[in-house]
């Protein structure tokens, strides 16, 4: 299958390793990955902060870039949920019937990375080896918007050597929330403190998730506290072959 990677603006800029891992996994499974250079951002930051009209050109740009793509994958549940939950509304707000029609035609072909693997490609064992203790942070959008359910767990359970440790209150938000973490820095920090406490309680070496936004937030505190626990996007774990290629 020809799969078009929407890397997302922050993964592109901050987490290139995640993108490389997605490419690696999909190519290992025999698929062709393309990267459309015109891509930028899904518009979520603007939309969620209330800059609704400003988000529309960004959304229009996204739809224009991928209109003819066969399948699109993004390693971010929050960006995919932005599309599914808000794109149609944005098109309607802009009074743009053409955009609305394009959105409706495109979105069924857009997948979050783990969703693509399990739901579309029907794979759970991607041939990964990752001999570490791992805990999974269930990001809000993956759960409540995309309803991924146990998809990430099923993938992790098939990784050789990986020990998955359960975490207390897995469904509770880490407190990132985009600009929330700046506009309400104190509350956000209090939420994060609780999340990090539960991560540390698991005894895991690595905390993973399907979203780097949460992981960046969680690692921000793990690093500040000088703990040795690290974070890794689930794509990086699934790409890993334990050092022996």
């Amino acid at each position: 299958m020809r799969i078009s990677l929407f890397i997302t603006c922050y993964n592109d800029t901050l987490f290139p390793e995640t993108g490389k891992s997605v490419v690696r996994v999909l190519e290992r499974l025999g698929h062709t990955v393309e990267f459309r250079k015109e891509q930028t951002c899904c518009g979520q930051m603007h939309w969620n902060t209330g800059y609704l009209h400003e988000a529309v050109p960004i959304i229009r740009h996204f739809v224009g870039v991928y209109r003819d793509a066969e399948t699109v994958v993004a390693p971010s549940s929050s960006c995919v949920s932005m599309m599914r939950d808000h794109y149609l509304k944005a098109a309607e707000m802009a009074g743009d019937a053409k955009l609305a029609a394009d959105v409706e035609a495109l979105l069924p072909r857009v997948y979050e990375f783990t969703e693509l693997l399990v739901k579309r490609l029907g794979v759970e064992d991607v041939g990964a080896t990752f001999p570490h203790k791992v805990t999974l942070h269930t990001s809000c959008h993956s759960q409540r918007s995309l309803h991924l359910g146990d998809i990430p767990v099923r993938l992790l359970n098939k990784v050789r050597g990986l020990e998955l440790l359960s975490i207390e209150n897995p469904q509770e938000c880490c407190g990132f929330g985009g600009t929330f973490s700046i506009k309400n820095a104190d509350v956000s920090s209090a939420m994060l403190a609780e999340k990090v406490r539960t991560v540390l309680n698991t005894g895991a070496e690595v905390c993973t998730a399907v979203d780097n936004s949460c992981l960046m937030h969680i690692y921000g505190s793990l690093h500040r506290q000088r703990t040795l626990v690290r974070t890794a996007h689930i794509a990086e774990i699934l790409a890993s072959t334990g050092g022996q290629a």
Partner: protein
Amino acid sequence: MSAPQSHWTNRSFPEAAKELLADSQIRRNVRHATDVIQAKRNRVVGELPDWEALREAGSAIRAHALEHLDEYLVEFERNCTRAGGTVHWARDAAEANRIILGLIQRHQAKEVIKIKTMTSEEIGLNRHLEANGVRPHETDLAELIVQLGHDKPSHFVVPALHKNRQQVREIFQREMHLPELGDKPEDLCAAARAYLREKYLRIKVAVSGANFLVAENGAVCIVESEGNGRMCLTLPDVLISLVGIEKVLPRFRDLEVVLQTLPRSATGERMNPYNSIWTGVHEGDGPKEFHVVLLDNGRSPILADGEARQTLKCIRCAACLNACPVYHQTGGHAYESAYPGPIGAILTPQLHSMEQGRTLPYASSLCGACYEVCPVKINIPEVLIHLRGKVVEQDQKTLGGKLGVWNVGMQAAAFVMSSAQRFTLAQHMGQLAQKIFVSKSGFIERLPFMLSGWTQTRDLKALPQQSFRDWWAERESNGGDATGAAKESRDAK
């Protein structure tokens, strides 16, 4: 529109939250109480195989009632009047306060007993009555604790949720003059019972709210756990019920749905211990005079806003508060309103035409936990974003807002994000410009201005020197077809 006597201030959410976050006692109490209620709620919701269908039905009933609110309110008025009640219409808080005080004064009453009603908190009724020589006595146990403690409610199902048992004992000891009072639930209940019984028997006018009005027969419905409400509804000669106009249901049988979902969502009970439903007045049974004051106070404009109308579907179960990770941290007082938590974050600013509570739509990480539990499926995150849009629009009308750092930053980002060339250029500039902030560990530990909020407690990952798109471009220029690239990526590992 707000009551002049309101004890709620207009400070911003982040400001109020900061103060509450420093109060470890409140945080412990809130966390404990919400954990207990949520666990009960999850248990009794989990046992219903048709829970999702009930949510759907509740949502449809409430949405339909709002669509035809004008007709159903008039139908309610007609049927309530026919049954011997009197219906009053109040445009705003001041008018409602005036009507209620007038009714009380007509009976020369100097005291009234009250059943928990957050609508009276919304209009500042207690303060208005006190200022006019009428003493209101709260009879709901939690409201009594709040009143005797000269406090404010922090939750609309459990208003004293922020107090623990020891604190309640201290308040009762002091205010009821019971220095020997113990802190066992039985002790506290017995004290409250003795204190309240005397009032039920003596005071002749009661003020209540209502959970639902029924248009088809003019009935009013109140559900509660303690039975104090039942006493207020049956013992006095005069009953005045203050009700928001949105609370009407078309038919009696609609109660079948909401009386299943409300108690399970609110207190984790399958059914409320006391369910009072009455119509008008009945010779020899209950109050001789019954008034309903229908309150608008900012609700009509919400009804007119198609995006935000769902706010009014709310049946005030407070499940969204108990599920909210922000509320868990701050408790209710940070919202500076009778309506805290996620529903408060959308309702409060709208009731005040966005002139108060402008920071409330931002008091959420948009995690969606509220929407997930809401028994009438109010998509709170969606309404929050809609209201954020209104805040931004208002801001952009002023010069200060236009030139403010948020607007300038967002405009610039939107310009950058709508072109790949500009975005790539911005990435390269960022990689250079960040250098002054990046510490030896490769992380950013301190940022200036508004971004300093992030680095108070968190380090920020520095931008790597090569973005993904640059890596891809390099791979392509190396002639990396799909397989070659896979190998290269493996080697790099």
